[in-house]
Subunit: 177 residues, 2 copies
Amino acid sequence: MLYFITGNENKFREVKSILGGVEQLDVDLSEIQEIDAKVIINSKLKEALKHREGDFIVEDTSLYLDALNGLPGPLIKWFLKTTGNDGLAKIALSLGNNNAEAKTIIGYVEKSGAVSFFEGAVKGRIVEPRGDSSFGWDPIFIPDGYNKTFSEMSEEEKNSISMRRIALNKLKEYLSV
Amino acid sequence: MLYFITGNENKFREVKSILGGVEQLDVDLSEIQEIDAKVIINSKLKEALKHREGDFIVEDTSLYLDALNGLPGPLIKWFLKTTGNDGLAKIALSLGNNNAEAKTIIGYVEKSGAVSFFEGAVKGRIVEPRGDSSFGWDPIFIPDGYNKTFSEMSEEEKNSISMRRIALNKLKEYLSV
């Protein structure tokens, strides 16, 4: 059985719609303090293997700012908690560099313990918050080729350019070989 | 026996000079992903209790920027790794607010599992890096009332205004009651 470890129903729906036979496993795995998403994911996968038998996937979707040499990355939640989207946009704009990358990394571990990673990245730019503010950093990220933040897009539109989908398609290809 | 958990010889010397009967315990406790230093310390103390019998102290000394609503705090090492001191100073100066606080939090756990915290804080300001760059964020922090960064001070001078000493003296008082 393949388990996707997440507490997020929307993410699970997106993953299931692409991969098919996968079950949601909503367990809270501790997140080590790291900025390398692969190290965090790897640690979670190793923990998952101890919990039950199966194959597991864990994903991390983070925002990487050029002006901050890649921060916040997986530390995004702490920025949202302190500076907020307002503050994060202000940092990028004050530093005069609003280039950013939204990146999903999916880690997949097989019963044997072998871990593989699959990435999807979308380049874009940081702007002051626009649109519905309910989902993470969506209000401040505009993907290249668009004039709307993720928050200003419909779910279909956003999913059509999703970095998560790019990563998932790579995983799907891997699983089908 | 009272153990101070640290891999840092300098910190241990400072602690021993103030507390007296304390032994260094150089074990690498995992640091959970958090910005609340007390939560991180608490988790380490609980882990330490599992390792061996005794009383333990763990300290966190971090830099909190007003311009970042308290970041980086315990996340300082990731900023040093990405933006560096240069970048961190540039953020504060670009945002037009260089106020900062250097804060030590000491957590003390007794065999019973009871945890107490002791804090020492020094207010100051962020400047572009000056002086010896070998120790953390010392090159960019000037404590109030001084014109030198921590890096430009002698060890004695720095220790005389140390936020760690303030916290340690509180712990010492607590232990002597």
